[in-house]
Every structure is written in structure tokens, then in C-alpha cells.
Amino acid sequence: MNKKKLWSIALLLMLVLSTFLAACSSDTTGTTDSTDPKDDSKDGEVEESTDPKILVFGRGGDSVYLDPARATDGESFKVTQNIFETLLNFGPQDTTINEGLATEWNTEDGLTYTFTLREGVKFQDGTDFNAEAVVKNFERWSNGTEDQFPYYASMFGGFKGDEGHVIESVTAEGDNTVIFKLKRPQAPFLKNIAMSPFGIASPTAFEKDGDKFTDNPIGTGPFKFVEWKKNETITIEKYTDYWNPELPKLDKVIFQAIPDNSARLTALTTGEIDLADGVNPADSNNVTGNADLQLYERPSMNVGYLGLTNTRPPFDDVRVRQAMNHAIDKQSIIDAFFNGGALIAKNPMPPSISGYNDDIAGYDYDPEKAKELLKEAGLEDGFEMDLWAMPVPRPYMPDGTKVAEVIQKNLADIGIKANIVTYEWATYLEKTKNGEADAFMLGWTGDNGDADNFLYVLLDKDNIGSNNYAYYSNDEVHDILIAAQTEVDEAKRNELYAQAQEIIFAEAPWVPLAHSTPLLAGKVNLLNFLPHPTGSDKLAEVDFK
């Protein structure tokens, strides 16, 4: 009798449960079908015109600012790159100089640059784009402060009145010509101009909004800003009066922050997003094996390295640093954690950048030699050290702790006992900056594809306490790098950088590990998406099949 009752109740419950689930699932599948922008195959052409094309771009974090001049982080530029345009553009997948808002540019002596501006361009608020607008933008920046426009200061040597400030004047000549006068030649000047932070903003808007401009950014780009849900999504939509009537192809782009790489890829698999930045190399097989997805490779413009704090014993001894270089098996690391998708690094800058010294042989994996070097340094019994592993995946180092574990083992083979230490990212950066680490993993992605942006920023003595985390200081290198900054002749300049790389190679302040190829994944019906080496992708041409 009890049995009977039990069964009837169980049945009842299951019934209720299954109806609930059924109701729920049928309901939801219905809605996704109707709102799915790219699922237009069954509806035919008629629907196409009304169905908006929406791209959901999943990425690792939210933007900090939407005013590019204020931003310093890559996630901010990912968005502003599509709202704003710069006078000059980088190439679609490299850092060559192409036309942007300026159609022509020239210089005689490297001191005076003349830009001819594109005509018929309007800002998204209706303001005309002209020479006056450009001048106002540069005035805004040059009258700013460090915490307002940090990139301006670091790229152009400070602000108006500062001794290092490179720009003498920016003047308008008529509506469509802008003339820059420099105090001294700056070799990467055009590359700097093309950087995302120097997107031209609507003067009407920033004069009106002041500090609030970042919440309501207005540029000339193919998309205009719609909404920013902090830490969640940023929505931009098609700017219908864009100067190129063909573009953009998409109606709307939503940038969604999903911090975890695996979670982001899962979201792509389940169709919640269309494009996923930062795919774990280990997952690339899952992407290529999935007929619904395609894999993108971002051209490499970075370096991942193991920094050795040159002021801390025993790393103040060049032989120890060289021993470290010989001890680490870079190839295995790349095979295991970059899924082969990376180059072994031998210089502090990637080979895609002009000035790269390919003649340098690099330190080969040779534990025996490493031991010998240690012996020479009087450390034949090895020593104990802290090995700092970064806690977060970065494009140049997908899995810091794991790589650290391999390095730990490599070092153990030559008698060095390395204890892996991790801090949260914030603490990590601060402590390494203070020189508290023995050896630390870090990396750098280039801003503008110039050698100066690697060698000077990362290894010049001027930048100790800033980005020269290794505390490497060499006067000869310093002189060469300063000379190269003002050398306008490309060949001579490359010669200087080649020299610097040789010295750095011999002194081995780091163990350069890899130049990775960051991976992205997208829906298979995504068209014309070209990942840019700087990490800021233009989405104007992107379309759905």
C-alpha cells in the first residue's frame, strides 16, 4: 500500500517537474530563434534589412575610460578605436603608417609636419571635423596633466612648458591643413600620432562635458557610443553619417567583459557571444575542431620574459644571469603552454618590429653550460631564490604559474632552488616595480610598433622605477637609445638598435621567453575580422555571412 502511494507521488512530482522544464525550455528556445541576428537563412532576404546585425565581443575586462586620451589600458582602446579615429592609421594587421583622418602628410626635416585632412567628415554630434578641431584636441592634451593624459606625456615628452615636450606648436592653415612644429626630431612621431590615445574628439563635446566626456565620448569613427554598463557591457552602434557610406557593416557591437578565458570560450560555444578575445592556447584545438567556430591569430607584437632584478644578488653577476638563460628550456614551454603558437624570444623586442637584430644567436638550452657559469660565479652549489609568477593570464603569457612551474624544474636541474611566489596582480606589479622580486615573469605588448617602445621603455635606466622592472642600467645602452630617438634616418636608427640589442644580449638582464601569438575565436560566419597586433581592433569592416 505504501509502495503504491509512493509511486503515485513520485510520478506526480516528475510530471510537474517535466512540465515546468518543458515550458521553460521551449519558451527560451523560441526567443533565441527570433532574436538571433544571424539566423536569417530560413527567413530569407526580406528579413535581412530589418534584422539588426549585432556583434557581441567577449573580452577579459571592462574599459577604464572611453576617452582615449585618458586611457592607458588595452581594454579601453578596444572600444575607443571604433568610436574615434586618428590622423594616421596603422595598417590592418601591422604598424605601417596609413591614411586616417589625414589623407596626406609630409615633412622635410623631421621638424615640421604638414597634414592634409579628409574632407566632409562630421563628428557624431554634428560638429564639423576640420583643422581647427585637430588643433583644439592637441591644445586640450598639451594643457593637461599627467593623471589626465598620461599617454600624451609619455609619447610627446611631457606637456606645454615642460623641457622634454617635443611639440612646439600645432596650427591650422585653412580648414584642411594642420602644421606640427617639433622642437627636435622625434623618430617615431608618425607612429605616435597613429596611436589609439590620440583619436580626435569632438571639440564641442569635450568643451561642454569636461571631465564627463569619458562617459559620453564623441568622435568621427564608424560607431557611436550608446551605453556603458560598468563592468558588464559597452554598446556602440552604427554611425549612419560616417564619411565612408559603405561602413560600418554591423549595426551594433556589444563589448562584454568575461574575465575568465575558459568561461569566455564556453560563452562562445553556447552562442552567448560571437567573438572571444584571449583564447587559451590549450583550447585552440577545441576551436579548430568545432565546425561552428573559427580561430584567429593576432599578429605577435609582444615579449614575455623572466626579469632578473639586476641589483639583487646573485643576479648582479652577469654569469648568473647568463646561466639562467641557458638553463631554461624555452622550446618545451612554448610547446606546452603556447600550443606551439609562439616564437622563441632572444631579444627584448619581437621580430616584426623594424630594428630587430636577427644576427643574435640567443642562448641555447644547455644545462651543463649553465652549471659551468654558476661554478665560475662561485655558486656551484646553487642557491635559493624566489620565482615570481604572474597570477593573471596576459596575451604575452597565457598561464604564468604553469610556466613558472616548468622554469622551477629547469632551475632545479642546475641546482637552483626556486620558490614560486604569487601575489595579486596589483601587488605583484607594485612589488616588482619596487625591485622586491629576485626573478619575475612579465611581458609587454607594443603600443605603436616602434623599437623605442620596447628597448627604451623596458630597459633604459631612465625607466627604473617605472617599466624597467629589472633595474637594468647601462650607460652605453642609454646613450644609444637616446640617440636613436632623434635619428630620423631609418637605416641608421636600426643600426643603433641592433647595437643596443647586442649589448643587452651579452648582459642578459632578462631571460626573454617568447613572442606569443594571442588567439581569438569567433563564429564561423564572421567575416573580415582582422586582429591587430596592438590589440585594438577596428570593426568597421566586420560583417556576418
Binding site: 509512493l6 519558451d27 526567443t31 596633466t145 593623471d147 598620461p150 554598463k229 568561461a263 564556453t266 596589483a426
Partner: protein, 372 residues
């Protein structure tokens, strides 16, 4: 956006008035009838006791946060920022002041309804936090609902068919549930329902292509108000996985509690004699048990609220749920002092208030329980 700040201000002034002028308001209560009076007295006393606790909390949070190494200015500006930019921002954010000045600034802000400005987004925390709180509230409510519905029913059925296979299975599951590391459960759910079957969304709380227009920021409610039943479906779908993960532990506890209180009920002569009369008795006991189950459930909500909020940090991190747990956790990573301070404080305040409400509810439901 300023109206939200206004609300915060009004709310806090209201609370502080109750607390500070409590001795005066108490004399008013003398006119009221005894039952209500004792309760108001009790509530007043509890609120009064909250003052030192809240003050202590502000201080503890403040000190802990200052003790955390790492420079917020550096984090805000990122790895590529120059040293002087970081310095300038430090000064601007008031990080160069001595700690006690920062503390009293902060306290003064709290009193005037100012929870500070997020260093990362530059928005007032009082504006930002409502949305996150609502998201967490929705998720927790959903989880508690699952826990209650499944837990109570499983408990009742288990007790009724004591020692049956259902009973054993349910109770073993409940034991497993209590011991579940929910971050693991969350990942497994994601793997099974997201990756393997692709059935359910694994991140966020809405379809971003078709965003819910927020009114209350409780999306289930919002979609119903707007009659967007298509969106209601997606919103519910997004709730399922994190909701189940978060519900597991309270569900297991409720099931076990209901079962044992049910067994007690069933041991009574009334039920024992009536049991032989057949199935209808089941529903009688069911009703009876439901009534009895309210108290353990309240206990659970009270006890588990902290765990829910804590569990929410992990669940929200795993499922990308834009709730207050993740808000605070990310703020810790970004050294966003005002957000950590105010976030933790608001959460703790809510937690304390919920416990107060539950204590009061207790006495309403069960007159045997007397206030201290």
C-alpha cells in the same frame, strides 16, 4: 542619478535617527499595548546595539583595506602608466592623507549618505551598488526558493516514507549537498550544461543582444512589468545554473531539518492513529509539516544568508553574475578602496538587518520564543 544618492541619504538619516533618538522614542511606546511595546523595545534595543557593531565594522574594514599592499593608483592606470601619472592620481584620490583623516572623511561621508566614489569607474558607490545588490538579491532569492521548494518537499516525503529508497537517496544526496564545494559544483554544472550539452547559458544574467530594460534591476520582475515574456525566458534560463549551485547547501540543510521535524510530528499519537486511514492523511500531515517547517527554514535563511552572500562571491565569479559579491571581489583586486569599504559595509549591514528581521519573525510565528 542623484535621486539614488538622495534615497541613501534619507535611509541613513532615518536609521541614525532611530538609533540616536531611540531612548526618546521609547517613552512614546509606553502608550502602546504590551505585546507591541516589548517588540518595539526589542527592535530598538537591537538597533541600538548595532551602533558599536557598525562603527567597529567601518573601522575594521578601513584598517584591513589600508593594510592590503598594492597601490590603487597604479592599478587604475595599468602596467604601462608612468610613475608621475601614478603619483598625480594618488594625490587626487586623497591617498596621501594620513589614515585617520581618510577614516574620518569616510565616516563623515557615510553619515551624509556618501559611500564614496569608485576609484575605477569614478561613479558614486551609492549609485553603482544598487544594481549589483539587486542582482545578488535576485539570485539569492531564486536560490532560496529552489532550496525551500525542493528541500521541504524532499524532507516531507523522506519522513513519510521513512527508510524507503527515496528516503535513503534523498538523505544521502542531502549529505553530499551539505559537503559540496560550490565552486566545484558550479564548474561541473557549467561543463555539463554549457559545454557538453550546450543547453544553458553559463555567464551573465541576460542575453546581451537583447538586453533587459532595467527598472528595478530585478530582471524577472522587470520583464514581467514590461510584458517581455520572451526575455523572461532568457532571464530565467540564466538564473538556473548559478541558482542551483547556490541553492545546493541550503537545500540540503532544509531537507534534513524538515525531515527530522516531520518525524517528530509523525511520532505523535494523532498522526500515528490517523495514518492507517490512508492517503488523505498525507496531505493533512503535509500541511501541518509545512507550517512546522517555517521555523527551520527561517533559521536557515538567517544562518545561511552569510553563506549565501559568501557563496555568492564564488558563484558570481564563476558564472559572471554581476552581483555584489563579484563587485567587491573585483574591487579587492583593483584596490578600489571606497567600493570595498562601502560594499562590505552594506553587505554586512544587510546581513545584520536580515537577522534582526528573522528574529522578529520568529517571535511572531512561534509565541514560545521570547525576546531577551
Amino acid at each position: 542619478m542623484d535621486y539614488k544618492r538622495g534615497y541613501t541619504f534619507l535611509f541613513l538619516t532615518f536609521c541614525s535617527r532611530i538609533i540616536l533618538e531611540y531612548p526618546a522614542t521609547f517613552s512614546l511606546h509606553n502608550a502602546l499595548d504590551g505585546e507591541v511595546k516589548t517588540m518595539l523595545h526589542y527592535i530598538g534595543k537591537r538597533l541600538w546595539q548595532l551602533v558599536p557593531v557598525l562603527l567597529g565594522m567601518t573601522f575594521v574594514v578601513f584598517m584591513i583595506i589600508r593594510a592590503i599592499p598594492g597601490d590603487p593608483a597604479q592599478v587604475i592606470l595599468g602596467q604601462q602608466a608612468s610613475e608621475s601619472a601614478v603619483k598625480a592620481l594618488r594625490t587626487k584620490l586623497g591617498l596621501d592623507d594620513p589614515w585617520y583623516i581618510q577614516y574620518f572623511d569616510y565616516l563623515w561621508g557615510l553619515i551624509t549618505g556618501d559611500l564614496g566614489e569608485s576609484m575605477r569607474t569614478m561613479n558614486p558607490v551609492s549609485d553603482e551598488i544598487w544594481g549589483y545588490l539587486a542582482a545578488t538579491f535576485e539570485l539569492s532569492l531564486f536560490a532560496i526558493l529552489i532550496a525551500i521548494i525542493v528541500g521541504i518537499n524532499a524532507g516531507i516525503i523522506s519522513a513519510w516514507f521513512q527508510n524507503s529508497w527515496f528516503d535513503y537517496t534523498a538523505m544521502i544526496l542531502a549529505l553530499v549537498g551539505v559537503s559540496m564545494p560550490i565552486f566545484w559544483l558550479g564548474l561541473m554544472l557549467q561543463y555539463i550544461f554549457g559545454v557538453e550539452f550546450g543547453l544553458l547559458p553559463t555567464t551573465g544574467r541576460e542575453e546581451v543582444r537583447n538586453p533587459v530594460e532595467s527598472i528595478t534591476n530585478l530582471y524577472v520582475l522587470d520583464t514581467i512589468i514590461q510584458g517581455r515574456y520572451d526575455q523572461l525566458g532568457t532571464v530565467l534560463k540564466h538564473l538556473i545554473l548559478p541558482g542551483v549551485a547556490l541553492a545546493t547547501i541550503p537545500m540540503a540543510i532544509i531537507a534534513r531539518m524538515t525531515r527530522s521535524s516531520m518525524l517528530e510530528v509523525m511520532r505523535s499519537d494523532y498522526v500515528r492513529t490517523a495514518r492507517s486511514k490512508g492517503q488523505r492523511m498525507f496531505w493533512v500531515v503535509y500541511k501541518h509539516a509545512l507550517k512546522n517547517a517555517i521555523i527551520p527554514v527561517l533559521t536557515i535563511i538567517g544562518l545561511q544568508m552569510g553563506m549565501l552572500l559568501g557563496g555568492a562571491i564564488l558563484t558570481e565569479t564563476i558564472f559572471g553574475w554581476p552581483g555584489v559579491g563579484r563587485y567587491i571581489y573585483e574591487a579587492i583586486n583593483f584596490r578600489d578602496y571606497p567600493v570595498i569599504q562601502s560594499g562590505i559595509l552594506v553587505v554586512a549591514f544587510i546581513f545584520v538587518m536580515i537577522n534582526l528581521v528573522i528574529d522578529v519573525l520568529y517571535s511572531l510565528i512561534d509565541p514560545r520564543i521570547k525576546y531577551d
